[in-house]
């Protein structure tokens, strides 16, 4: 039964994709009327102007360009032109570093706050104010104080991925069932041991959910941050191709950003499933 459902869902997915590509192809065919122009003038003009080619590339253009990129993902033509593989590598490294720092800060801090109602109440206003700030709003401040654009980008990842993790850790730790803690208390388990053997496993699913939200946000933000500071990374690639008004390459980058984002999410989802327990 489930296998047939999966099969049917797959078929519907493929049909939707085909329909989407078909409509895309039809919508971007050259239809615009072409003004008459002298050949000398036409030589100086682009295809949009001379052949009425749509400014939006069709799926075939994108496919051909994608194949070109996939054939040589790691080329290096100097500091401003590197292959997509290298650009993605830079972005993933930045996200990884910023995210790891956020994990190192958010989880211990969240634990402390969650276990102490006093701290929780005292820090709450700060967290509530800092949480909704767009991470990119930190960018000028970071650039100004850190004085290094690549570290600033990592800082922005750090600051944007810290809040969901922190709040989820606090929530997870604070809402561990009282019975379990009371049992631990009756058995005279020490605070530290209680934290690691009772609270941590109980709060783990919530913490990992926070981490999963964070990695999603971090990946969203890195693209924007790299567009801002430039240099390397997939965000820079988008900006560079935008500079050249090469929509084809921008679409390819969008596709790749989506795929990498999905993979990162799936990895965290797998971890979450590992620590989930039935109650």
């Amino acid at each position: 039964m489930t296998s047939s459902l999966r099969l049917r869902a797959g078929l519907v997915s493929i049909a939707l994709l085909a329909a989407f590509l078909g409509i895309w192809h039809l919508a971007t065919r050259s239809t615009a009327p072409v003004a008459a122009m002298s050949p000398e003038y036409a030589k100086l003009m682009g295809l949009t102007a001379t052949q009425g080619k749509s400014a939006m590339p069709g799926p075939l253009d994108v496919g051909a360009k994608l194949w070109e990129h996939l054939k040589r993902p790691f080329y290096d033509n100097g500091p401003n032109d590197k292959g997509l593989g290298i650009q993605l590598g830079y972005s993933i490294a930045r996200v990884g570093l910023g995210y790891l720092l956020a994990v190192l800060v958010a989880i211990p801090l969240g634990f402390l706050i969650g276990m102490s109602p006093l701290l929780s109440k005292a820090l709450d206003p700060f967290i509530q104010v800092l949480k909704p700030i767009s991470p990119l709003a930190w960018m000028p401040l970071a650039l100004y104080t850190i004085k290094d654009s690549s570290i600033s980008a990592i800082f922005v990842i750090f600051i944007c991925s810290i809040w969901p993790m922190l709040l989820n850790t606090v929530f997870g730790v604070a809402s561990v069932r009282k019975e379990w803690i009371n049992v631990a208390r009756t058995l005279e388990v020490g605070t530290l041991r209680r934290a690691f053997t009772v609270i941590l496993p109980a709060a783990a699913p919530t913490i990992l959910t926070g981490m999963r939200i964070s990695i999603g946000i971090a990946w969203l933000v890195i693209v924007a941050a790299e567009m801002l500071v430039g240099g390397t990374g997939i965000g820079y690639f988008v900006w560079n191709e935008w500079n050249n008004l090469s929509i084809t390459n921008v679409i390819i980058a969008i596709l790749l950003i989506g795929i990498v984002g999905m993979l990162l999410d799936q990895i965290l989802a797998r971890f979450t499933r590992m620590v989930t327990f039935p109650e």
């Binding site: 100086l44 682009g46 500091p79 191709e241 500079n243 050249n244």
Partner: protein, 460 residues
């Protein structure tokens, strides 16, 4: 024979045995010749000696075959000794080396991908930096504010900036005041006003009330020229039209999307809008002020004082590249060199139209203007004074301005003149010149009167 090859090496591929016949083995020959070899470079002086000696050798034997025959017959050390008899290579080297070895060889220079940055960019692929002993990485940057911050942060040693930016930074407008200097102007002319296709019949600026225009940055010649142009036609740029700061690449997209009615932007952006059929060229900036500066090559005073020789070498490379770019016959080659994704990232046709001056105007005509964009490195201090008058006119500077002092501090006309003379170029003798903007004369000696003479300006 390249300048840095060993002038006394008759054959680069050393065969078995000694090539000159003076030594018993190739190793011995190597050892004897190593005193004269350029590679590996033992010291800066050695390299300069090589440069000087090779220049002398080239002068004496213009033909490579004759030089080789001479070296083969007498051997390298004999040749050097013979040469020194009548040409003081040591002294010449000392004189040459006085320009000094760069303190820092690996430099980073930021640029914005527009044709204004042509000399800065092309100096990398065409080897002008290397020629002056530098290893420069040119880094593409996302916008003017970012390039300013990265240069202030010392991520870049020097950068491509809009001509008024170093003045604004030095004065602390829109940023903390940090002394910056301009040793060279990148380009003159090379901008244009492009309007959306739907304004084809609205060519008189008097009809432009209510339109939306884009400019690249507040502290830009684009801003001042557009404001000047509008004001001369009776349009108050602050109240009658909207001026928006938009990054150049987004200008074409915004024009297509009908968010703006036109823009005053670098030529490659203008030409791109025409190339894509979304706009037409209303006016070249050259027609507003022929010979106006646009972008500059800027460095912080701190860099100049801590690494004066690097800075001098960098300036020489830029001046060299600018001289090369100013020649019409080189423009096609330059367009091809700077078009790839690593540099400007634009279709070659577009850059060629900008640099050669034969371009489609967007209305079906092909126009030719060889001086559409031009390159002249000399940082006229009167340019700086003019920019200051416009900053004052539009309320960017409040209060009194010491025009001359600021201009002389930021625009290093004296140093560049000295450097250009050393390079065998002929810079102008004065640092100030009068010029006309839309037929109205500007006298750099009377900036206050000039500001006061405009009817349309921001009330201060």
């Amino acid at each position: 024979m390249s300048t840095f090859d060993n002038p006394f090496d008759p054959d680069r591929n050393l065969r078995a045995g000694c090539v000159c016949g003076e030594h018993r083995s190739a190793a011995e020959h190597e050892q004897a010749a190593s005193a004269l070899r350029c590679e590996p470079v033992e010291s800066e002086e050695k390299r300069y000696e090589g440069v000087v000696a090779s220049a002398v050798m080239r002068a004496m034997f213009p033909q490579d075959a004759a030089r080789r025959a001479f070296l083969r017959s007498v051997g390298a050390s004999t040749a050097l000794a013979a040469l020194s008899q009548f040409f003081p290579i040591k002294t010449a080297t000392e004189v040459f080396a006085e320009t000094g070895a760069p303190e820092k060889k690996d430099l980073k220079v930021g640029f914005i991908p527009i044709t204004c940055a042509t000399p800065i960019i092309m100096a990398a692929p065409l080897g002008f930096y290397a020629k002056h002993g530098l290893n420069v990485e040119v880094v593409k940057t996302a916008g003017w504010a970012v390039i300013r911050d990265k240069t202030i942060n010392k991520e870049y040693d020097a950068a491509h900036m809009l001509a008024p930016m170093p003045i604004a930074i030095s004065l602390g407008l829109g940023a903390n005041a940090i002394p910056f200097s301009v040793p060279a102007i990148e380009n003159i002319n090379g901008q244009g006003i492009v309007l959306a296709m739907k304004h084809k019949d609205k060519r008189d600026p008097k009809d432009w009330k209510g339109l939306k225009f884009a400019i690249p940055f507040d502290y830009s010649m684009h801003n001042y020229l557009l404001r000047y142009y509008l004001a001369e036609h009776g349009i108050d740029p602050d109240t009658d039209v909207q001026l928006r700061s938009v990054p150049p690449p987004e200008m074409v997209a915004n024009l297509r999307a009908d968010n703006i009615d036109g823009f005053l932007a670098p030529d490659n952006i203008c030409q791109r809008a025409i190339y894509d059929g979304v706009g037409f060229m209303h006016l070249l900036s050259k027609e507003i002020w022929d010979g106006h500066p646009c972008c500059s090559f800027a460095a912080s005073r701190e860099f100049i004082t801590t690494a004066p020789n690097s800075f001098a070498a960098l300036t020489r490379a830029i001046v060299d590249a600018t001289a090369y770019a100013s020649k019409a016959e080189n423009r096609k080659q330059i367009a091809e060199a700077i078009a790839p994704a690593n540099y400007i990232n634009a279709p070659v046709t577009v850059l060629e139209q900008v640099l050669t001056g034969t371009y489609a105007d967007g209305l079906g005509g092909v126009k030719t203007d060889a001086k559409r964009v031009d390159f002249d490195p000399f940082p006229w201090q009167s340019f700086a004074v003019w920019m200051l008058t416009q900053m004052k006119r539009w309320g960017q500077i409040k209060g009194d301005v010491d025009y001359k002092a600021v201009a002389e501090q930021v625009y290093l006309a004296t140093d560049t003149r000295k450097l250009m003379t050393e390079m065998g170029l002929s810079p102008p003798a004065s640092s100030y010149k009068s010029f006309a903007v839309m037929g109205k004369n500007f006298d750099p000696a009377k900036p206050e009167d000039y500001v006061a003479s405009f009817k349309i300006r921001k009330a201060s």
